[in-house]
């Protein structure tokens, strides 16, 4: 990733594009923002980084008018503004791209962009004017989007581009992006960064909210680190390093590279032969996939999201039916016997799903209830036909202690925990069941850096205890850090296999793009 020359620093006496002075906000007992002071110059990009719950989202929501600060001042181009609603923020020239897009899926791009600023009762005139203006924006910033395509048919990367266009169309001079790469492939992320550099060069102020150090290093000029509601550091990106930032975020030294001994693979625990999965329309999403998992190894599945990894994981776990093929595990054929997830779990096949909130937990239930999900029929949680509430609570408290889940309150609703703590609880649930094979999808998606280190250590400990792990992740770094053997998927097939020692980012990247590996002699 080549760095373009940074934009010329704005003249010293020009006021910052956005300036926050002493922003303070409490939610009940939680002091979410403590006297935050923060400034972004026009024509620069500024990273805002911190662990989940550090207060970055609250701060940005105050800037965008979702929340009202208890005290403090917001200045735009040196002028104090009152921002009580997103409309006022937009009027002040602040635009925001949310992590979860705010688009009407079955409208076209054009309709989405003009939504709320149609400019008159009849659409035709407004749409024509908008089309011309969007053409100009597309030229100026390299934001090409098919204007008449329906949003739901666009890739995630393009949908995000629509969000950026929406903000620019409304005259944003300050653009806030909240975790913009959480949903992007590495390639899409690179395109986004290129776009952000162009915006910066054109004099916009870009604020990037993230917890990924790589992104901060790649595109920002300055970076502000938040921890527990307060700013703990503000530095020029050039003068810092990922390690330095991580230490500021967590408040202690962090191991970015996981330490692990070479794998000592043992007996084959699970084997997959010619597995095929078709979707509801009969399209093959998984085409004749074969591989095996041995005791004491971590096999990583790399690939651009949507190339069959999710289908593979679900077919193995039993949440999706395979149409053909064989999964041998524990002396049984899981496909032919059509075993459901419960039966597979009983055989020792545990699963940490990719999308935690959609599948792995029930957000409205207590942590204790979530900690028994899938194991709720187990004798240890029931006594005489009734749930054993004391045992359920005690088991959850034990998991929370072992996996450092905070706050350690089994009664608390799961939604009240941060992403990292939710994931630690799910991991605790599946690891505590002492599985032979653990399927794990996106183990650190939406998880803060301190928790990532912890989760990686636990996964390696599980491997060293002689279990087999199948790891699906869109983070190539994670695959490279954890896996002993790497399978690359493209178009529903396993396109190549690499031992960790032979794997490089370039080789894997080529395979992810569909270039078959040469058969090694």
């Amino acid at each position: 990733m080549s760095k373009e020359p940074a934009a010329p620093p704005s003249t010293p006496d020009a006021p910052p594009a956005l300036e926050l002075c002493g922003i303070d906000k409490r939610f009940g007992a939680v002091h979410a923002n403590r006297a935050i002071t923060f400034a972004v110059a026009a024509g620069s990009s500024h990273g805002l980084i911190g662990e989940n719950g550090a207060g970055k989202s609250t701060l940005m929501n105050i800037v965008y008018g979702f929340h009202c600060a208890d005290s403090g001042e917001i200045r735009v181009q040196g002028r104090t503004v009152e921002i009580g609603s997103p409309q006022q923020a937009i009027a002040a020239g602040i635009g925001m791209v949310h992590q979860h897009f705010m688009l009407v899926e079955n409208f076209t791009v054009l309709e989405n962009v003009v939504l709320g600023v149609e400019g008159g009762a009849l659409l035709a005139g407004g749409l024509a004017a908008a089309r011309a203006e969007l053409g100009r924006l597309a030229r100026d910033y390299g934001l090409e989007v098919p204007l008449d395509a329906v949003v739901s048919e666009l890739s995630v990367g393009l949908q995000q581009r629509v969000e950026i266009l929406k903000a620019l169309y409304r005259g944003a001079e300050v653009l806030i992006l909240d975790e913009p790469t959480a949903v992007l492939t590495p390639h899409e992320a690179d395109q986004l960064f290129a776009m952000l550099r162009r915006l910066r060069a054109q004099g916009k102020a870009v604020i990037l909210v993230t917890h990924k150090l790589r992104e901060i290093m790649a595109v920002t000029d300055r970076v502000t680190v938040m921890k527990q509601g307060a700013v703990v550091a503000e530095v020029a990106t050039r003068e810092t390093s990922p390690r330095g930032l991580a230490e500021h975020m967590v408040g202690r030294a962090v191991l970015l590279q996981v330490e692990k001994r070479p794998a000592q693979p043992g007996a084959e625990l699970l084997s997959v032969k010619a597995l095929e999965v078709r979707d509801r329309l009969g399209v093959a999403r998984l085409k004749s996939v074969s591989f095996n998992l041995r005791a004491g190894e971590i096999v990583g599945i790399a690939g651009v999201a949507g190339n069959g990894q999710s289908e593979l994981l679900e077919a193995l776990a039993g949440t999706r039916a395979a149409s053909r093929g064989e999964i041998s595990f524990g002396g049984r054929d899981l496909v032919r016997e059509q075993l459901d997830p419960r039966a597979r779990r009983a055989l020792g096949l545990a699963h940490v799903p990719e999308d935690r909130l959609r599948m792995g937990v029930v957000a409205g239930f207590s942590a204790a209830d979530n900690a028994i999900l899938g194991y709720h029929d187990a004798a240890r949680f029931n006594r005489g036909g009734l749930r054993d509430e004391a045992a359920i609570r005690a088991a959850c408290a034990a998991k929370m202690a072992e996996f450092d889940v905070r706050p350690p309150q089994p009664e608390l609703r799961l939604a009240a925990f941060s992403g990292g703590n939710q994931q630690k609880l799910v991991l605790a649930r599946e690891i505590d069941a002492d599985p032979q094979v653990l399927l794990i999808g996106q183990p650190t998606r939406g998880v803060d850096i301190g928790a990532i280190e912890f989760i990686h250590k636990r996964l390696i400990a599980l491997r060293d205890a002689g279990k087999a792990l199948l790891l699906v992740s869109v983070e190539l770094d994670e695959i490279l850090a954890l896996a002993d053997r790497i399978l690359v998927m493209n178009g529903g097939e396993i396109i190549g296999e690499l031992a960790r020692a032979d794997a490089t980012e370039e080789k894997i990247g080529l395979m992810m793009a569909g270039v078959r590996a040469e058969v090694s002699p």
Binding site: R342, H351, A363, F365, D369, N382, R387
Partner: protein, 369 residues
Amino acid sequence: MSAPAKLPRWAEFGLLPLINLAVALVVAGVIIKILGESPLAAFKLMATGALGTQEGIGYTLYYATNFIFTGLAVAVAYHAGLFNIGAEGQAYIGGLGTGLVCLYLGTWPFWVVLPLAVLAGAIFGAAWAFIPAWLQARRGSHIVITTIMFNFIAAALMTYLLVNVLIKPGQQSPETREFSTNAVMPAAHELFDKMGITVVATPLNLAFGLALVAAVGVWIFIWRTRWGFALRVAGANSAAAVYAGISPPRIIVGAMLISGALAGGLGLNELMGSQHRILMDFPSGAGFVGIAVALMGRNQPVGIVVAAVLFGALYQGGSQLSFDMPKINRDMVVVIQGLVILLCGAMENVFRAPLTALFARVRSGKGIE
């Protein structure tokens, strides 16, 4: 951080329903004023009519019994993520089962008839809920639509049976003969009599006790058993249910069977307890009131019992009102009841947002650390 603030429990389960009720009464008061009566006097009349006398209390609890059964039926389906609009039809068919036991086995001793009647009511009610449930689980037919339609089918079926099959020979009105005395639910005043306490005779009967037992049973089932847990998981997040090895189609069928069985309890109160025969349209809307009761009671058995008593009081107080205030006829009483259902049931969330905002402001103002 940006998670919506939540109301404290006492406000969620106490204050919010009370605000809804108060607003409903204010609107009703305006209507009463327009009709030329004094709202305060009317409400006083309703309150004393429902709760001020032994007779009023008896009738209030008698109506409440029906609403507890149907409210619980709606709530169990709700926890499984299903909106059962068909409690009316399930209660109607369930009552048929109870009535048949009473008609044909009613000469057996009461303590034999009672469990059979309970069982038959439950089985018939569950059977009527099974078809929509199966259609939803296996064919994806929306349960709201099918259960509504099954209410009409139930009504047509019962009309046919009462007019052509079950009618007491030699009479005009489509009703069966009276149950034998062994198949009559002991009335509350008889039970009090045995304890040496004299109370006014009302239709209140043992079925009220059965309804309370059902409420306790539902609470235990939903919150304290693994089956209830599985049902709640399937209702809250069906993908997570599949992941956990819970089969959503099975939960749909199971929850609807329980829901229909609970609705089938209405016949115990209405037929065995009060009418002593099967007659046309005996659920008289209790299945629909059950929806409002479940909503107002937040689908919690305790809340449902409280809401059912409130609606029972509204029914009893309303009839008292139409007796004593000639300008307010029976239809106006239905309007007032409808307003309460509208504001407490259908529009129960209208005041949630402002109340939540108010609480958030009060709390942040104090800033407890």
